[in-house]
Symmetry: C2
Subunit: 595 residues, 2 copies
């Protein structure tokens, strides 16, 4: 094998253009393709910048030509040569106007035949891609994703730094807090029998930084949750984490809108309009059945409970009581698109979200076609059509149930209809704030209240009295989520900064004062020494980058992700530990408990 | 308590200058000090930007005046007022030319008397500072340190990004590699009985990124080592981690010199000269007895083994054999500074580094004064003086022993002498490359070779044959450390990129092929598919920032450090875990093994 001694790369292969003609260049990269044609050897040399065609001509250099003839796929080479205009141009690649006639070649390393092809449209399964991730990452699309991710992080950092935010690193080995998601634990060797946790977020540290007067903090930081994995979850994920003092909701939202505007401009060259629309949680549920609605298309819910409260169709009429509703969506002009079979398919979908059924009506020239039409009077049908704004050719879909079931199931039907009709324009980026979230949700299993965001979220001022009353579910939070095309990409709140309110919050969550003190005593203590009003927000970087890259799942924008069993198949992590390691940590594996 | 509703901070208190006179400002921060004087209330308001004097005058606003009278230390306030020129200026603070007459004040939060004073020269012990870190971080110096740290990180990121480096996040939950330092382990719940490790560095991932063609990678990233803590060690620490493909040592050093030049310019406004001096490991040991010499002062070693090989002083003469030496330093003109007692003190210091003694000679007008002078002939004494470049008034100090003991003990004596004489100019930044490190060190305890840097470091080309020979300790590595004022602030190497050489390296380290495969099989596999020549470097950010900040230990530049027992006394981490958590993780605490 040759060395690069005395050779220095002049530029990326993919950067060469007509302007470079006549230039002497040194390129280094991988053999994408080699072919012999008309007594010449043509090599596509690939590097991070793209691909350029290299030509080896026996008349230019006999030794280079002979070496080039022996090249295989993915060999690593360095070439020195001159840029020429191509005879037959290739408009499919950016360097298609030129080619480089090589005067020298060095073979820096050889390659066995790789187990996956190095091209974007290779259809190999994800298991193989993850096992050979270092080859998968040679694909131009994956490299583009990683570079886009780096660019987003860089834009974010510079924007926040320019706005007086100070990046501060918070610890990774912290105190376990058995609240919210499951912690990853780390046994301490020096303190036998004790454990650190990996942070689920830097929440408490960033609040303490506000107590310390650091005033505007940010961090792009790994966080950890030991949850069962879904398609878009990873055991470790990255947050853009921000916190500010002396602010209210509007200040936080304004600065974050500026950040997103900057990201879209610098990364995608797209202008997005600020301020973003805002919607309360109640409005979002009422209109879309979701706190993260995709607003690229309509299909908004209409609540017809009042219209049908006395109708002859019992299923509908009974849902006029409190906490229940009948809601519908009007799929304008698509009555003919949805066959009975297609509607049954939607109904099945609704049922997986606990709906008992999906009622439908088609508005035809002959009137309403529907299996349930017979239960309604003509007037009732007309009233329904009016309420739904329905005209001939429209399809109406209804769910009647508890509000929570209606939201869930009809919300999913809405998404499925939009998918079928391709209503979600992939080129559109709809950003939206959702505000006034409930402070509490009911944990029905354990019969208690849990914090919808987290226990440090401040209730709205006008609701704060309810913290000790019976109306807890109506308590609204000074919390806000930012939604992009149906994904929650970030969320935050104004925090509690009064030790007394914080204590009440812990009590409302069912923590005794002693428990609260054991877990969060240092925060309550800190709050006694002059805590400024403060609030912040955290973005999920993985998901944001996924959406910016137009990728289908977050593993496409993470260099070395885990699979759905939290395993890295490339390195085979996790593995058994050596017994002396465990002994030093004062722990033992105890499998029998589980089996 | 008041809210900030309708109020928006206009600027930091510390930013106000004469130019601002007449300006209406809104400031928010903490009460540093309050005093009543001549019917007025004066408040020093402190925020991240500094301190400004606020004046409350009953005639300007009665209600504000009355509220101000009740303020206590560390209360959080917002004030609206107008900037005036001060009558009696205070040249000790940047805002000393102005004061703000307050028209409105809001008390945003109260404070109990804090357990530590919020001022730089508070002499409270570190234990209390760490327990109340959120108060300790209110000190201007600590805030300055954190801001300096953020600035360093920002300069680094922008420099590397401008130079085509792509920031890529590598995983935190990785495969344990029981080599080098001790891993922190993380039990996997989903894979019972198996463990992840927290990374000691992203070494293998960054090399795999080079295999993937990402070509120029960097990351500012937390790393973890479960070692017993020293003054300048933390369980988690931050690395500036870089790797490049298609480069040799000079390329890496050049780009890193540019980075340091930029840091010093932008952070300290200091011009440092590049390229930095270079010294081989052998030269550094020979001259300073250290691979991280402080070159701000001389006191260089002189090897007088040849001069004394036949002298009458047995201790010296016997050290002429191979692997032993007699080395001295000349403390020019300081013979009178060092009393017998001071020299005894130095000797004791030398003995803690295994020296049997510290020989000394003072050159006086009457000749050589020394307890060992009698063992030498006049000619021998003259020869020694000549070799040492000694003149009247100089003090000569010698250690005779195995080279390794001479290096260690005389190196420490050199530092102690420099400390006593204040030779290390705190305003001087001496950067230095140390190169050609040995590949192996002997692990005398276990009778085997271990890698001085790590097993992925490439041997020098001309030495590569020794990898399989008996002369392993003479094998030099393509490794380089960067040294600043006696601290190693970074280190790196050109890596092995040939699977066969890597296999030989593992064998040389005593790993069987099976062990090597179990631990590093994926790397050996990756190397078969076209690995480019590559190398890199990692800086210790904590230590670099410590030196730039002129701080005494790294805890001064870390927001929330652990103490020497790896405990966070603020939060009380680590703690006992709940038994159901451990059960889910299939582990048990087993303390009896240790006690």
């Amino acid at each position: 094998m040759d060395t690069i001694k005395g050779m220095k790369r002049t530029c990326y292969a993919g950067s060469l253009r007509l302007d470079d003609i006549g230039r002497e260049v040194v390129l280094m990269g991988w053999v994408q393709k080699k072919r012999n044609l008309g007594g010449l050897v043509f090599v596509d040399l690939r590097d991070r910048g793209g691909i350029a065609q290299i030509v080896f001509d026996n008349d230019v250099s006999k030794s280079a030509f002979e070496k080039a003839e022996k090249l295989g796929s993915e060999y690593v080479i360095a070439i020195r040569g001159k840029v020429f205009e191509r005879q037959s141009k290739n408009s499919n690649i950016p360097t298609g106007d030129i080619e480089v006639f090589a005067e020298e070649i060095r073979v820096l390393n050889e390659s066995q035949t790789p187990p996956i092809y190095i091209k974007d449209d290779d259809e190999v399964g994800e298991a193989l891609r993850l096992k050979y991730r270092y080859l998968d990452l040679r694909k131009p699309k994956m490299q583009k994703n990683l570079m886009l991710r780096a660019k987003v992080a860089n834009v974010v950092r510079n924007y926040l730094t320019d706005n007086d935010f100070c990046e501060i690193e918070t610890p990774f080995l912290i105190k376990p807090t058995p609240e919210g998601a499951r912690d990853y634990l780390v046994p301490s060797r020096v303190n036998p029998g004790k454990f650190y946790a990996l942070p689920q977020s830097p929440q408490l540290y960033k609040q303490l930084l506000m107590v310390s007067g650091m005033d505007r903090y940010f961090q792009i930081v790994k966080c950890f949750r030991d949850e069962d994995l879904r398609a878009d979850r990873q055991p470790e994920f990255t947050q853009i984490d921000c916190e500010m003092s002396f602010v209210d909701e509007n200040d936080v939202m304004e600065i974050m809108e500026g950040m997103l505007k900057k990201i879209f401009k610098e990364v995608l060259d797209r202008d997005i309009v600020t301020p973003f629309p805002r919607m309360t949680f109640a409005q979002a549920m009422d209109k879309y059945g979701s706190d993260k609605p995709d607003t690229r298309y309509g299909l908004e819910f209409v609540n017809i409970s009042d219209v049908v409260k006395n109708c002859g169709f019992k299923v509908f009429a009974e849902c006029a009581k409190e906490g229940y509703s009948v809601r519908g969506i009007n799929v304008v002009g698509e009555a003919d698109t949805f066959t009975r079979k297609a509607i049954t398919h939607l109904e099945d979908h609704a049922k997986t979200y606990k709906a008992k059924g999906l009622a439908w009506m088609k508005i035809t020239d002959e009137g309403v076609t529907s299996p349930i039409a017979k239960f309604f009077s003509e007037e009732e049908l007309t009233n329904i059509q009016n309420a739904m704004g329905a005209k001939t050719g429209d399809l109406l879909l209804f769910v009647a149930d508890k509000d929570s079931v209606v939201y869930d199931s009809l919300g999913q039907v809405r998404i499925a209809v939009a998918d079928k009709l391709n209503l979600a324009d992939p080129d559109k980026f709809n950003l939206l704030w959702v505000t006034e979230f409930p402070v509490f949700e009911e944990d029905e299993e354990n019969g208690r209240f849990i914090a919808k965001h987290h226990p440090f979220t401040s209730p709205m001022e006008e609701d704060i009295d309810k913290l000790e009353g019976d109306d807890k579910l109506k308590l609204r939070a000074r919390a806000y989520d930012i939604v992009l095309n149906g994904y929650e990409i970030g969320g935050g709140s104004i925090r509690i900064s009064d030790a007394k309110v914080q204590e009440k919050m812990f009590r409302a969550l069912g923590l005794s004062d002693e428990e609260a003190n054991n877990k969060f005593g240092y925060l309550l203590e800190a709050f006694k020494f002059g805590t400024p009003p403060h609030g912040g927000l955290a973005f999920g970087l993985d998901r944001l980058v996924m959406l910016l890259a137009g990728a289908e799942n977050i593993r496409e924008v993470i260099a070395f992700p885990k699979n759905q069993n939290a395993v890295c198949t490339m390195t085979n992590a996790p593995t058994e530990a050596e017994s002396n390691q465990l002994e030093e940590l004062s722990i033992r594996v105890s499998l029998e408990d589980k089996e």
